[in-house]
């Protein structure tokens, strides 16, 4: 079952956030998305630190959409920490890349992203990636295509 905060979007560009949320909204998924604006915040959220210290009772996200270029703590660093911690190791991570630059994609795969989507996030692409990752709850939630 889906719950609030099932998808964590780590993105600093407000335009990209709004466009992504818009796309999710059109498919009635926006409620399940939690947005954090930089790497540090993402880590705080995931490890219940700082302003997220009292994020009790809330389970970890089921999917993380991670922009690789982030202020403060870089996306690559965030990914490394996610993969190092027992509690977050198994969460699927989809990298958001602003280009198809093979080097960015390669280093992300090396660190253990499960998939990647070029920006802006087209919902079709997202659903495709989710399908590849076996996240059928997302596909099931998608309303019949219009």
């Amino acid at each position: 079952m889906l719950y609030e905060g099932a998808i964590l979007l780590v993105e600093d560009d407000p335009n990209d956030i709004e466009l992504t949320l818009n796309a999710f909204d059109r498919h009635h998924l926006a409620n399940h998305v939690t947005v954090v604006r930089d790497g540090e915040e993402a880590l705080d959220y995931l490890f219940r630190r700082g302003e997220y210290a009292d994020r009790d009772g809330q389970p970890n996200p089921q999917l993380i959409l991670l922009d690789l270029k982030l202020p403060k703590v870089d996306g690559i660093e965030v990914l490394r920490e996610i993969r190092e911690h027992e509690s977050t190791r198994t969460i699927p991570v989809v990298a958001l890349t602003s280009s198809r630059d093979t080097r960015d994609v390669e280093s992300a795969y090396d660190l253990g992203v499960n998939s990647y989507i070029p920006k802006p996030v087209e919902f079709d692409e997202f659903i495709k990636a989710a399908g590849q990752l076996g996240l059928y709850w997302l596909i099931l939630n998608e309303p019949p295509s219009t």
């Binding site: 335009n15 990209d16 466009l19 602003s98 280009s99 920006k119 802006p120």
Partner: protein
Amino acid sequence: MSPIAPSNERLPPVLAEFDPLAADRPGETKLPWRGFAVVAATVVTVLGAVVLTGWIFGVEQLTRPLSGTSTMKANTALALTLLGAAILLEGLATARSKDGAARRASRFAWLVPILSLTAAAIGLVTVFEYAAAVDFGFDDLIAGSSGAGAATHALRPALPTAVALILLGSALAIDRLNGTTAMRARQLLAFAATCLAYFALLGHIFQAEIVLGAELRTSIALVTAVCLLLIGLAILCTRPFEGWMRIVTIENVGGKVTRRLMPAVALGLPLIALGRVLGTSAGLFDERFGAALAVVLVTLGASVAVARLAVEMNRGHEQCDLTMARRNQTQLLLNGLAEGSSAMIAARDVHGRLLMANGAFERWTGSPREQALGKTLRESLPPELVPRREHSFNHVLETGETVVEEVQVRPGEIVPTVVAETFPVLDGVGRIVAVGAIAADITERRLHEQTVERLNKQLEHETTRAREAIAELEAFGHTVSHDLRSPLRAIDGFSQVLEAEYAVAIDQRGRHFLDRIRSAARDMNGLIGDLLEYSRVGRGELEFTHVDMATIARAANEKLAYEREGRDVRVTIGELPPAFGDERLLGVVFTQLLSNAHKYTRERAVAEITVGAIDPAAGLSATYFVRDNGVGFDMRYSEKLFQAFEKLHHEGTYEGTGVGLATVQRVLRRHDGCIWAQSVPGEGTTMYFQLAREDQPPLSWADHLAEVSSMRRRAVDSDLQSPVAQPGQNEFAK
């Protein structure tokens, strides 16, 4: 097993005193002096032994080797045998070749003085018997009393024989090691004995008795005289190149004359005298005439000899003058060389004493040569130079090797700096007799080198900075292009949202503007993509592999399928030789060129695009081309073709950023290759490109230009002369 392993061990060099006269010293004659000594001594030893045997066993015949002559006395025979044996033993012991026999003989060398002194003692006792008129019975010791016994001392050696034995015995007992004086004494004694024997021999020839007072009428037996003579000469010849014998054996005019005149005189004069005696006694002429004749002959002989001597001496002088002249010339030349050179030239003997130095030495050391000559390193050089020079000097003496080194005259300071070569000076037989040194001032060069080094460092620094600046610029370009995409995404994204969600609220005019916004955003995205590509092909390492050009050309063509939608485009990919390069970047080249070809043929009813190689057999040096029948361009602007952002067509006519061909050129430059174009407006364009060969280093610039221009000519020729088809290519064969 190799019998002789070459030894790596170097023997230390042999040192010798520098002797400027050594070269002038004449050599020694190669006549068999020692050979004669050995033969003579052997003859005497054998003869003495035979006679001795005769006496011991009473064989009368053996005591008188020449019948009709008087006997060789037993003691004489014994003494002669001893002397002969002593000479042989000594000769063997001092033989140059140290073979087995020589080693054995040298073990018995101590016997030599004993043997010879025994012979001398026999003579001495005999003389004492004569002088004191006593008879010790010494003469009969060997022969027993079997002798005739008529005369009181019939068995006693003649007095001259005894004297000769004393002389020869003591001569032989003198060891050569006692020096030149001892050698001369030995030779003097031997010569005296030889003269005595010669005298006795002449007495026999002239049948005269040597009369030494009434009591001493005995004469030396002929055989004894010959033996004494031989022993005397043998002793002289055992040491042919020492003492006075050098006069005879030396290889110069004097030696030559002596060697010829002495035997001539010794044989000639007795012959003349004998002739006179025989002639007189035969009644051919009287005493006076005989005397006159002898004088004439002697004079004649002497004249001939003196004339010969004069000729020899003149020849010697001429030779000497010539040698001197040559030597002077060489000396003059060497002096001129040494004095004329700005390099310091000096030579020292093995003790470090200065033998010669040139003018530069004076200038360098600041002390006059005359004072420095004969002085050691320490005494003749500035103290700060002494340790280094002594080290080099000793190294040369110890190893025989040349030392080349750079010396800072004032330690720690560059100025002045010299390069010094210290080398052994060898004599004719390879001994080190002196150490030479040549030093040249290289201060200027050192200073220049320093300047060059400094400039190099500066240049290196500049290059690094330039490289850093370029890298920064590249990174900047990359980042900017990258970051530009983010707002662009927003523009496009929100336009899209507007279009999708508010289509009803916007009128047609508004939708038109929305279209324009989205189209502009797409163009900009394309431009940024191209810029990123341009930036990317200039960065990063190339991965060189063998590339199948036909495959990557086909792959590039596949990617452009969307360009052909709704059009009649005929693409022919001909035979493409494989290349050596970065596969991804070469893919960019084909993609870009094919994309252009598609773009500029858009107005053609049937677009014909051909990919091929001019010379498929050329392998890695092949020239590839992409040809279209598009709009073409004016060749006047071909220069601008490969510059970024330069487009030859109006904005809007053909979409594109102008970065594509610049990217292609960048890729080819990174492969040390090149690209050029050929076009006729309205007919089409052909783009040619070439890659560096794998088996050769990248072409030099000049070769490159020559090759490219020849390629260009060929391309132009084939293009202009046969515009329809390339020979050997089945293009258009679709």
